[in-house]
């Protein structure tokens, strides 16, 4: 399974440059928001965490629709599906993890830079990083379900994103509220963060199982 992780990462870094694309898109999002807000640095700092989170959520969608489609096209998917149920679920888990390492993690690492651009304080930036670190894997895991469903579709693209976005909303809600709680005083940081972690764990368990079920049904 380490081999699968290594292979998917190798492909991601070699072709398309998923990591770069995600970070650049992220940057673009952060770059245009100030146009609307105007030069109000305070406001920027206030909505900064939300913007970073929204940007990260949207950037995670890039490449997600090809997660299994590419394997189907060259025939690898057959070999992945030819495993017992447990290994199949684990395979999906690993593939989602690889997707996260290639797209999600760079976003987390880029967050401090963007926090700077958004005039966010250190605490705030740290909180966003921490919540992104916990939250973006959840998006990859839940996204795997959409990607698995897309295997039977001639073309994934937008449809996958449409199917995934509503599911990712809880992650966003708690990610953002935990980030805010870290800076606004009366609200405690830990409760929303714990819920976020719980959701992430839940998705990490549910996503691969659901995606595996969809893949089993899809084979033709």
């Amino acid at each position: 399974m380490m081999a699968l992780l290594r292979r998917d990462l190798a492909i991601a870094t070699r072709s398309g440059g998923a990591a770069m694309l995600g970070v650049l898109f992220f940057l673009a999002v952060v770059a245009v928001i100030p146009f609307g807000i105007g030069p109000d640095l305070n406001l920027l700092a206030r909505i900064g965490p939300a913007i970073l989170w929204i940007g990260a959520l949207l950037a995670s969608l890039l490449g997600l629709d090809r997660l299994f489609q590419a394997d189907r096209e060259d025939g690898s998917l057959d070999m992945l599906v030819m495993q017992d149920w447990f290994s199949l679920v684990f395979t999906v888990f690993i593939k989602s993890l690889a997707h996260w390492l290639a797209t999600g993690l760079p976003l987390v690492l880029a967050a401090p830079l963007l926090g700077l651009l958004m005039n966010m304080g250190a605490t705030s930036t740290g909180a966003v990083m921490l919540t992104l670190l916990v939250g973006t894997p959840a998006i990859s895991f839940i996204g795997a379900v959409g990607a698995a469903v897309a295997v039977v579709l001639p073309r994934g693209g937008l449809l996958v994103s449409i199917l995934i976005l509503p599911l990712a909303i809880p992650v966003l809600i708690f990610g953002v509220s935990a980030s805010y709680a870290a800076v606004t005083d009366p609200d405690p940081f830990w409760p929303p963060f714990m819920i976020l972690s719980a959701i992430a764990l839940f998705f990490a368990a549910l996503g691969p199982v659901a995606a595996a079920a969809a893949l089993r049904g899809a084979s033709d």
């Binding site: 290594r6 690898s76 057959d78 030819m82």
Partner: protein, 214 residues
Amino acid sequence: MQATATKLKGRRGDSVLFDNLGFTISRGEALVITGPNGAGKSTLLRILAGLLAADSGEFLLLGDDGAALPVLEFAHYLGHRNAMKRELRVQENLSFWKSFQRSDSGEGLSVDEAIDQIGLTGVAHLPFGYLSAGQQRRIALARLLVSHRPLWLLDEPTAALDKRSDRLFADLVRQHLEAGGLAIAATHQPLGLENVRSLELSGIHSAASEEVWA
């Protein structure tokens, strides 16, 4: 070890491709499936590999002690497509499959040995996408060698192979059979194997009679 299909029925959409199909092969035996285009050879192989569900009937792989073995883990499936990533090197592709398809039933060859066996020494460092069609198919065959699995399910294994590679492939299968393996292959061309059983699909499809909606 023995592979037995009983009363298999395969369907695509509303047409039944084959019904009541049965065969048994044991260690050292090969089965060649023939039939016109669209007869259902690939469908049959996918059903045997567990990638498609049969409409009815079953396919069992029995160990030497008579216990049923999971086909998923004891069979190699080689489909029309090669299951290799164009952007990765041959070496990377094969070692990925070697560790991904590791099995308890025995050790496979090393990647370099496998590449030697299919006669492509020296291509290991090339990206898979740089190979010619026949070379790509041969690398796909090398996948069968890097991890040992007793049952081979091959869908037109010799597509795009030149004559020398045809013979080379026949040798590989012969070695596999001699070592106690089993092979089931769908093909349009003689494989150059002796003593194989054969199964011909007629290509005449009947309509599914107990269609749910009708």
